[in-house]
Symmetry: C2
């Protein structure tokens, strides 16, 4: 089933303790689609300026990314420049130049309007609503947002939430949105406002899925070398949504698996700058990492089964 | 098999956003033994002053805590006073009065010297070494420590580590000890310095076990109400060690289960002030929580099995 992403297409300049990169492919739609397309074809809607190295995007098209919704217009492309602390725990934005992204109004091409799985990357919730108005009959809508919109467009965001199936945010965003510091109470608050599921990402610690039918936690993959955390959340979303689109199954059980595929993709993303780690990544490697997640949390509950008495 | 704990016995005064308590039972040996004794008998070595409400400790003895190693001497008992921030993420120590604990020199009663499982609570590493010198033939020694000793008694601590099987610390301590901010590299560093296993506790996020034979992660239990985080780490240690002592099995597989039992005990500890939550806690409730941990992380890897191709 078709999978559509609407989000930013940027050029990232990132400094980490391990090196730096300039004008590398970045933005939510890029991380999402590069990670997701290893699992299922992705349709992209976004905007780039005349200065964007479009041939680098086109190289991605070969692997199942449909750029039919990427507008190329006169003006500068969206550029972001950031620097991470020595322990990668904090990042400082050195420069944000929105360029053509400032006036982005997503137009969904006719051919994309039948999309069944839709991911709304972090953009103005008014634009996210506008996207949904253009989609005929979505089966599963997921969206991201950020502190800026939670504060400045809260009412529109709440209107959007009523039309969203899965909200993917980080813990600070969940806290800000709900006004509750406890993430499980925050999750319950959000579930009352529309979404059937909420995914709360906790960075280096893991991610939790909360729905009426259960709670699932996947820890972050144990990595001894983390190179660049940029884009991990969008790569997570790409893996999560692509797994659901590929398997055509939005049951609770399959959402658990999607969480793990998403976490695998997030863990690959941070192993290199930009989207480089996905260049040579194979389905076998992804499946192996999913199994490694299972090994990470596996334990035998048999001695604790009901009616056994204490072991 | 016998289980011994050496640590502090304190009176805690704690302020949280939900209330406050004064001179409640506290200290590492108390949280450890109250949690652990629900699973396996615990022998306690510690010291209290003449002002300690000893009858409150004696009430604990009824449930399998042997206080034969608790010295009662002239002087004030160890008192700690702390206040948690509104979100329980930070705590401020308002007052520490070491009292008789300042001159504590653990003397292991003859009857306790055959202990097979030993937990060295967070005290001066010289004293921890002194305890080990008094134990005839320990099977499994675990210990805790803190930033103060890592900084001020590093050499003694490293000497101790060579005689310890499991080090239990939090992530900040693992980072400080190893000089590495990545907790998995920090774990590898620590494993080179003696312990066969390291348990790194990550507070509200969970805990990880790292050994030469694998890595195991258990997320923190999803709680909508966290009342008082004091003592969670020691309750964890109590559950962890008591499970190992009870089952007489220090295999990697059983250490995984011990991690979950420890996490269950930590999660109970924070549901009330002091050790109150353990008052009525039953083996069935503990087993049910262990199974709930399994449900929390469970997912079906079958579609990702080797040789299956991508699902």
């Amino acid at each position: 089933m078709t999978l559509l992403v609407v989000g930013s297409i940027a050029l990232d300049s990132v400094e980490t303790p391990f090196g730096e990169t300039a004008d590398a492919l970045g933005g939510s739609a890029v991380f999402f689609s590069v990670a997701g397309s290893l699992i299922h074809p992705v349709q992209v809607v976004g905007v780039v300026g005349h200065d964007y190295p479009y041939e680098r995007l086109e190289r991605l098209a070969r692997r199942g990314i449909d750029l039919g919704g990427v507008e190329r217009i006169q003006g500068e492309s969206f550029r972001w420049k950031g620097k991470y602390s020595y322990d990668l725990q904090n990042r400082e934005t050195l420069e944000t130049r929105l360029g053509v992204f400032a006036a982005f109004e997503p137009r969904i091409p006719e051919a994309f309007r039948d999309a069944r799985h839709v991911f709304l990357g972090n953009i103005d919730p008014e634009l996210q609503l506008g996207v949904l108005d253009q989609i005929h009959d979505p089966l599963l809508v997921a969206c991201d947002t950020m502190n800026y919109w939670i504060q400045s467009k809260r009412d529109v965001l709440l209107e959007l939430l009523r039309r969203v199936d899965v909200l993917l945010v980080n813990d600070a965003e969940a806290r800000q949105l709900s006004g509750d510091w406890n993430i499980y109470r925050a999750a319950r608050w959000i579930l009352k406002h529309g979404p059937r599921y909420i995914v709360i990402k906790q960075g280096e610690y893991g991610a939790v899925l909360v729905g009426a039918d259960g709670t699932f936690y996947v820890p972050a993959f144990p990595l001894e070398e983390v190179f660049d955390p940029t884009g991990a959340g969008d790569a997570f979303a790409g893996g999560f949504m692509a797994h659901l689109a590929r398997t055509q199954d939005v049951s609770h059980e399959n959402l658990r698996r999607a969480m793990v595929v998403g976490s695998a993709m997030g863990s690959f993303a941070v192993e290199r700058f930009s989207v480089q780690r996905f260049d040579e990544l194979t389905p076998d490697e992804i499946a192996a990492r999913v199994r490694a997640f299972s090994e990470l949390v596996r334990f035998d509950t048999e001695p604790f089964n009901e009616g056994q008495g204490w072991p």
